[in-house]
Symmetry: C2
Subunit: 484 residues, 2 copies
């Protein structure tokens, strides 16, 4: 069926209402039966692409037909991040209130490059990021701005650090300048790859990133950091920034930020703290301590799209040196000049991207819908489930846990008693176990390596995950491991 012969205009509002109800029904069912599909998609490479026509249709099609194809051709190629058995990477949630907010945001289609292009985009961003900052107990000196991902936040942190450290970098750049020494960025060997990418992009080079060894609990060693900086200084290399992590990707370990902040302060080096995953845990009073020392950082990133029920993407970046960030990026073309420029923040001045989505709306709605209390109980429950799982691993003779569990991620592996294992054998064994687990369609886990050892990760973080799902994961793990 052809949609209509109307050559101009949008879908008419009554059709939108009808199709909108249909989409809401689809989503409501998706949320009510979150285990309807296998967690990890089972399609083969190229299968989705090959199922689709090679070219766009010449004539428009009815929306209900497109929706049928969505269900028939696209959904089988989806890995369900909203499935309660999703335990891979960091488990996230696209919550109901977040989805509703995204609907409104898409309909308004506001683009917040300037204050005047939607004052609410700018000001709600200020409000929602300050609510979150206060919930985590960070000082009011931190001003928030919303980007898409932590990769972008960390890129902006390092660009601001470069602006602060390299004289004339904005105007003169770095290439072909005989007056500049080499520069260095520091992070732990467990820091996220976004630090590597940002260092490369801003022109420091991958060799300009020095990875500091971690201790037995996968935390950066401050003494090693100190020694590295001293060694570099002796070689004429200038420290540009240190990136500490609260909640590393592999094990969610917490770098000793207080000690690191002390070093950065003494050395006059920009400190950026990546709290992308774990920062929100500080909303719980008993976890407030994880951000100790972060108050002294120059910049911080926290991702509500990781563990605060916010549909992807929304990364909250905080800095107490907004002037430096703006100094690195602000640049006003004539066609973007406005009379109110001095009196307001124009989001385009705070980064690479000129255009900004209305992301703050979902964060604001989520904070209101769940409330501080509701957030605390949910995060607390995820951590309880992770500890519960860890206790089963610890009690079982044929499994071992390979890292502490400070939050909601457990690192473990199968290592049956009664014989000696080489690391290669254990890797093969656990890789096979992982593949079989993920093939069940009931759960999806991922892996990492710790000190050369292949490790399975179980990450709790989806709102739909209940104790029975974690129990089922453990059952499957034991069953499949014993079949080897």
């Amino acid at each position: 069926m052809i949609v209509s012969d109307k050559p101009f205009g949008d879908m008419d509002p009554e059709t939108f209402r009808r199709e909108g109800y249909r989409v809401v029904d689809w989503i409501a069912r998706y949320f009510a039966e979150p285990e309807r599909y296998p967690v990890m998609s089972r399609v083969k490479p190229g299968e989705v692409r090959c199922a689709l026509p090679a070219a766009a249709p010449e004539r428009g099609e009815a929306f209900d037909e497109i929706l049928q194809d969505f269900e028939r051709l696209i959904v089988p190629g989806i890995t369900h991040w909203n499935h309660p058995g999703f335990f891979a990477y960091f488990a996230i949630s696209g919550s109901g209130p977040g989805v509703l907010a995204e609907m409104l945001s898409a309909a308004l289609n506001a683009q917040g490059m300037l204050w005047r292009t939607s004052p609410s985009v700018t000001e709600l961003e200020e409000v929602a990021t300050s609510w979150l900052r206060d919930l985590m107990g960070l000082p009011a000196a931190f001003q928030g701005v919303i980007y898409d991902t932590a990769s972008t936040s960390t890129l902006h942190a390092l660009a601001a650090a470069r602006e602060a450290a390299v004289p004339g970098v904005r105007r003169e750049g770095m290439v072909g300048r005989r007056d500049l020494p080499r520069h260095r960025v520091y992070c732990s060997e467990h820091a996220h790859s976004s630090v590597d990418k940002a260092t490369i992009l801003i022109g420091i080079g991958h060799d300009g990133l020095r990875k500091i060894p971690a201790d037995e609990a996968f935390r950066m060693r401050p003494h090693a950091l100190e020694a590295a900086i001293a060694e570099d200084r002796r070689a004429g290399i200038v420290p540009l920034a240190v990136v500490a992590t609260v909640g590393t990707t592999s094990t969610t370990s917490v770098d000793p930020v207080e000690a690191i902040a002390e070093i950065c302060s003494r050395e006059g080096v920009w400190l950026h703290v990546d709290c992308a995953y774990a920062g929100v845990a500080a909303i719980i009073p008993e976890y407030r301590h994880i951000l100790r020392g972060v108050d002294r950082a120059d910049s911080v990133v926290v991702n509500p799209h990781k563990w605060l029920f916010t549909p992807f993407d929304l990364s909250a970046f905080y800095t107490r040196r907004m002037d430096v960030l703006v100094g690195a990026f602000a640049l006003t073309s004539e066609y973007l000049r406005t009379s109110e420029a001095g009196a307001v923040r124009n989001l385009m001045d705070t980064g690479v991207q000129l255009g900004r989505r209305f992301r703050a709306l979902k964060l604001w709605m989520i904070l209101r819908y769940f409330g501080a209390e509701g957030i605390r109980s949910r995060l607390g429950e995820h951590m309880r489930l992770a500890r519960l799982f860890a206790s089963w691993v610890d009690e079982h003779p044929d499994f071992e846990r390979l890292a502490p569990v400070p939050f909601s991620v457990v690192c473990f592996r199968s290592k049956p008693k009664g014989r000696e294992w080489t690391e290669d054998e254990l890797e093969t064994r656990n890789q096979q176990l992982l593949d079989r687990l993920n093939a069940t369609g009931e759960v999806f886990l991922s892996h990492t390596k710790l000190d050369g050892r292949f490790v399975l990760r179980l990450a709790v973080g989806n709102l739909r995950t209940e104790e029975r799902h974690v129990r089922r994961a453990w059952e499957l793990i034991q069953q499949l491991a014993s079949r080897h």
Copy 2:
């Protein structure tokens, strides 16, 4: 009313359905009465922020209360990009099918960093960008990848150009290297500020960007580009990239890409073409010529969120040198290694951002819903309306048009006959006219400067804009101009 005492889990599916219908009703009414609100928000700086509590609520709130506050406190601070009287910057549309797609995308909450984290995200991105590429008549050698904004696309283009031009840049960087000469990026004086920002960010420095003068129709002069490159080469400066534009921001002028491509090919310099706004016009056979020469570019950016009815944000980046882009950015942490890595594209390898939203869904649904024919007729209509408006300006003795109208943007100003005007007087006069126009709430226009002259811009591009809205804008302009 407190939402519920359930301490865990998400909004329940039946509540989601009820509130989802309510949100769909709100949007359907918003689309049915798009002139209900003033186009440009009338709030004062700080007004939205001050109307909101200083802290997040302790207890969760019911969604209908949040929705009431959205209408009462947030909507007044919205500038309505979906209003038919929106003629500022580039007028864009968040279309019905695009909004429906965003609902589904938010609910799935798929994150496409790896092929396996949702094969459909990767493969539909390949399909939708190739459909669009073919509609515009670009060669199949261009592979597409979706980013958020054109600023990000152009940043990636220049990062890839740097990777291709600067030996060892990824590993060794650029700072403190005695072996490297200075480098230069070239664009016309009318290119977008994103070129400036990208040049600064990758460490070439703002002085490393050389703006080439334009001709009387605001198009880059190829001879001036040639001369600039020759002069730089004599001074030992290495050309890094040229950015040409098809549809500049101020006047939508089209750089002579064929001649520029010829120079780039001779000089061995990366050519990036910014078609963010105007590229889609090539979907109309009579406009195919605007992309002449673009087939020889190394990279191209086209923004469906500008003039292809796609809710913000979605920028399509194309390159025939995907290997260089991946070489600049790919970097796989152990926890992201997968067995299928060689056989599939992993989106994380194509840029700064590790995480990727499922943006392709809206582009695919929009291309299907409107069809090639429906897109052509809508773009054609916008251009007809712009030409109509230009004809009124041309015929009126008290107005002048200041640039050609190749697409859907008209640059003009009020300049009543019968006396001499200084440029200062004309700027004051037209700035006041603009402020009065925007204060009516019926229309929203923006300005630019061309050769030092203050110019009003009327940009047609919203799906809801009809001839009557353009007529009304012209009426208001004449009325308010005659009142001085």
